[in-house]
């Protein structure tokens, strides 16, 4: 799980863990990060496009478990208790 070194923590982690899979070039991913910050929710993220091929494959296998379409952003709460696909503003706001 070498890719784990590339995960970045934003804000303070709360009791719920929020893992966000993103692309550095994706504007919807950026909107999601911004909204989480605005809501004061701590989260971890990884920009998959910036990883090398091996790491990308590992991460995508993980993303696919939660989201077979492997689209971005994929937001995973508590290891899969809840999964939000895309910038679904209402669903993200409901996390607070």
């Amino acid at each position: 799980m070498a890719y784990r070194d590339h995960i970045i923590q934003e804000g303070t982690e709360s009791t719920e863990t929020v893992m966000l899979y993103t692309l550095s070039t994706c504007i919807w991913c950026r909107k999601t990060k911004k909204l989480l910050t605005e809501l004061g929710l701590g989260y971890s993220y990884i920009d998959v496009d910036l990883l090398d091929e091996d790491d990308q494959d590992e991460v995508m296998a993980e993303v696919e478990k939660h989201n077979p379409a492997s689209s971005f952003p994929t937001l995973v709460v508590n290891e899969g208790e809840k999964v939000i696909l895309g910038f679904e503003e209402g669903e993200i706001r409901d996390l607070t």
Partner: protein, 167 residues
Amino acid sequence: MDEKVVDTESIRKYYESLKVDNFSRGYYLNPDDEFTLDLVESLLVNEKRYGYPACPCRLAKGIREKDLDIICPCDFRDQDLTDYGTCYCALYVSKKIRNGEKGIGPIPDRRKDNGARSKMENEKCEKMKLNLPVLRCKVCGYLCAREEAPETCPICGADKDRFEQFI
């Protein structure tokens, strides 16, 4: 992105040319300038990174042949505009959305289930006997009957390798 890989002037220029070119072809860019400029910047980042403007909202492989269908404008733009009023990343929008009569939200990525359908269509078409193959631009649907696809699609400007044999 913390570091600017592409300068502001290049982003502005590319944005203006996309806007003008597409308007003349009946396509509209997202009217949210801030959003669209960010998207255009990402397209230029990908152009530098991969050598072609891969969709900013999809994971590119970095190998042109594998990413052909997601080079902007992607193979799925027109169908997504019809069904949802925006393309997947929302660079392109319908007239209604451009005029503010309809809002924009996230849409599903149709990339994964597209292969099966086009294969079926091709098999159906192979039954016809023609003097020349009919070639189709996967970006805009332009059809031409000739031995080889044109260098550049005369309708949408897509490169030769975006063509498929249709019949």
